[in-house]
């Protein structure tokens, strides 16, 4: 097979596999969040937590739930890292330093999974399992819950109740993520991914670190988390041993965000509303794949930072999907990509992670962008905009704008300060434009909760640990609070009837508007910064 054909076959298999599970998984997820009954395990958890699962919450209580749960998650994760030396399976990897523990705790709770640490040298198996693996599950479940709450805002009318956060969280974790991750882990083991409680294995006299990889690998991709069990992440032969495991991992990181558009269509009672979102995501994903793939295939040294078993197409496909989904796992080093290819992975994040975005986060982000698009369309024709039968007034548009603007604000402030700090020079791995790209990429990754890196940059000093930690926090929770406020305000409204003047949101006109808004918002915000980094590099 020529490389082009081989690449296209891989894309074909991936898309076909996604198409097969799209309906059943999307419909199943819709049922999970609408059925009344509780599983025995769920009832036990609610009893233990002293929660009444029938009690519906206002948007503010729902938001306090998200914040409270994330807060205790961060504290718990921080503490177990700081006392690692007394935990079993630590292999003399001692207590994790303060700055690193702080950064890592925020990183995994915000679904970013940015890694300022070298797992093989720093994290023992206990922290990996009871800390990092758990947050891989629950941070994804939080995203899912917030997305469902926003959809309820559209579906419900004249109520101040959005559902029960604890029920949504527990159901997302137990009924969706857990069974899928378990199956995925077994499939990955069959392809050759390792699953060991030992610290390493001897290969012809050389010790290669090992870990309980498969279990974490499965949820790392499925929950669009991305934190490697080993330093080289999905480029490591133990995490991703061959072309088939590679394709499976790409499938896993895309499957829930993609199928959620079906869930959305089901819940709002019009599947076309979901298909149009999927179409927009698919168009941008395909366009970006083409850019990255072509750029990498024509690079000066295309194999630097790539594993031969994945080839250029298998690396480009992974890179595009991991940055388009806020996953941030890597199977090749984006830092060694061409100016255009690396710039493409950066731009994927700057779109705000909605092509198709992370688990839940992708859906709520694209819905917020849809509100912005309808608002722009309303301005053009001079009508109060509507979306899914709800009027988009001052409150709704303000909340949407806050949600959209949080990421660029913290990103540009953080990257701007980092660029002028004298200590940053020593942290960079490459000179010139590419050095600036390393800084931009780091803050884009943190603020968008992606977690991948132009990994040459050394981010272990106090400035990077704390500023990137704050970017992850604000990039995660400002949009979440805004989205829940938006949901509350939508749910309180009456449904407005469809009239001749209503712009249909299932057709190509809306799709074009939405695509244009995604591209335009990113372009207007980031072109100046991109011009100095990847664009300059691509033109040199």
């Amino acid at each position: 097979m020529s490389p082009l054909v081989a690449g296209l076959v891989q894309v074909g298999i991936l898309v076909a596999a996604l198409a097969v599970v799209y309906r059943p998984l999307g419909d199943y997820m819709a049922r999970v969040f609408t059925t009344k009954g509780h599983l025995k395990a769920e009832k036990a958890i609610y009893r233990f937590a002293r929660i009444d699962p029938r009690a519906e919450q206002k948007w503010s209580t729902y938001a306090y739930g998200v914040l409270g749960f994330s807060f205790v998650g961060i504290v718990f994760l921080y503490v177990i890292q700081r006392v690692q030396s007394v935990l079993p399976f630590n292999f003399d990897r001692g207590n994790v330093p303060e700055g690193m523990s702080f950064n890592t705790a925020i990183s995994f709770v915000t679904n970013t999974n940015w890694q300022s640490y070298v797992p093989e040298a720093v994290m023992g198996h206990t922290v990996q399992m009871i800390g990092l693996t758990v947050q891989n599950f629950v941070s994804a479940a939080v995203g899912l819950a917030v997305a469902i709450a926003l959809v309820r805002g559209f579906v419900r009318s004249q109520t101040d109740r959005l559902g029960n956060f604890w029920v949504d969280l527990v159901r997302g974790a137990i009924r969706i993520l857990l069974p899928l991750a378990f199956i995925a882990a077994i499939v990955l083991i069959i392809t050759g991914v390792t699953m060991s409680l030992k610290s390493g294995v001897d290969v012809d006299g050389q010790t290669i670190a090992n870990a309980p990889v498969a279990g974490q690998e499965a949820i790392k991709e499925l929950g669009t988390n991305g934190g490697g069990v080993l330093n080289a992440n999905s480029a490591h032969p133990f995490e991703n041993p061959n072309e088939w495991s590679n394709l499976i991992e790409i499938f896993l990181l895309l499957v829930i965000p993609v199928a959620l558009t079906r869930t959305f269509g089901q819940l709002v009672g019009n599947k076309k509303q979901g298909y149009v979102l999927l179409g927009v995501m698919g168009v941008i994903w395909s366009a970006m794949l083409t850019v990255i793939w072509v750029a990498e295939a024509n690079g000066l040294r295309p194999l630097e930072g790539k594993e031969l078993r994945f080839g250029i197409s298998g690396s480009a496909l992974f890179a595009n999907s991991t940055t388009g989904t806020s996953t941030g796992a890597i199977n090749s080093l984006h830092d060694s990509f061409t100016g255009l290819g690396g710039g493409g992975t950066l731009l994927n994040m700057l779109f705000g992670e909605m092509t198709p975005g992370g688990v839940g986060t992708g859906l709520y982000s694209v819905l917020v962008m849809a509100i912005i698009a309808m608002f722009l369309a309303g301005l053009m024709v001079g009508r109060t905009p509507e979306y899914l039968g709800k009027k988009l007034g001052r409150k709704e548009v303000t909340a949407a704008a806050v949600s959209i603007l949080a990421m660029p604000t913290v990103l540009l402030i953080g990257a701007g300060i980092a660029a002028i700090l004298p200590s940053t020079q020593g942290a960079l791995n490459n000179p010139g434009e590419h050095g600036l790209s390393e800084i931009l990429y780091a803050y884009a990754s943190a603020s968008n909760n992606n977690g991948s890196a132009f990994a040459g940059i050394t981010v272990t000093n106090d400035w990077f640990q704390s500023s990137l930690g704050l970017c992850m926090l604000f990039g995660r929770f400002i949009p979440i609070i805004a989205v829940l406020a938006l949901a509350g305000s939508l749910a309180a409204q009456k449904k407005v009837p469809v009239t001749a003047g209503t712009l249909p949101t299932t057709g190509p006109l809306f799709a074009t508007l939405l695509t244009g808004s995604i591209v335009l918002v990113a372009a207007l915000t980031f072109v100046p910064a991109l011009a100095l980094g990847p664009i300059a590099e691509a033109l040199l």
Binding site: M1, A6, G7, V9, I45, S60, Y64, G65, L67, G68, F71, V72, G73, V118, M129, T133, V134, V138, F182, I186, I189, G192, T194, M195, S196, V201, D204, T207, P212, A214, L230, N231, A232, H236, P237, F238, P241, L300, R301, P302, L303, E304, G305, E307, L308, R309, F310, G311, S313, N331, S332, L333, D335, F337, N429, N430, P431, G432, H434, E537
Partner: protein
């Protein structure tokens, strides 16, 4: 604030319950399943040909350059326009051309670039072919035999690659 504390308290209990389920029972069940004989049995990385090992001596095939400093896996993270690194690559090319006795233009890309993990066990069929004469000479094996061994360790559905770790073991057993 009261509401935040109340929700955090509930959150802590939920987190503890889910930690038992997702952080203990889940990984241990997956570990248990990985012990089932015949599933693939690579859980303990017994298939060590997954990672590259540098072997001393001219009778062995040479894997790709590695930028990893073990135990940490990883790559160079050098950008395409990094001139210092361009020099490193040029030096590697000269060195390989001399080692194999071929013009520099014949040295393939994978021979001079570092992989992402630093553990990539594979090389391209071109790089393997380049090394065959030297390996045959140093190992005393006939060129045909070495080519056969290379072919036996060449795999891949989408990308055809030669596994150096497995190939060098085959050289050992043949010699």
């Amino acid at each position: 604030m009261d509401n935040f504390l109340k929700q955090s308290w509930a959150g802590l209990r939920i987190l503890l319950a889910l930690t038992v389920l997702l952080g203990v029972l889940y990984p241990l069940s997956v570990w248990g399943v990985s012990r089932i004989p015949g599933l693939h049995a690579n859980a303990e990385a017994t298939d060590t040909s997954l990672v590259a090992v540098t072997r001393e001596g001219d009778k062995y095939f040479v894997p790709r350059p590695s930028a990893a400093t073990l135990p940490a896996s990883g790559g160079s993270n050098k950008g395409e326009l990094n001139e210092d690194y361009t020099k490193v690559i040029a030096e590697r090319r000269t060195e390989i051309a001399q080692r194999e006795g071929v013009p520099e233009s014949q040295v393939p890309q994978d021979a001079v670039t570092a992989s992402a993990s630093g553990l990539d066990p594979h090389i391209s069929p071109e790089y393997a072919a380049l090394q065959v004469p030297r390996v045959a000479r140093a190992s005393g094996l006939p060129v045909e035999k070495v080519r056969e061994l290379v072919a036996a360790n060449t795999h891949g559905t989408f990308t055809t690659t030669v596994n150096v770790t497995a190939l060098n073991r085959a050289i050992d057993s043949a010699g």
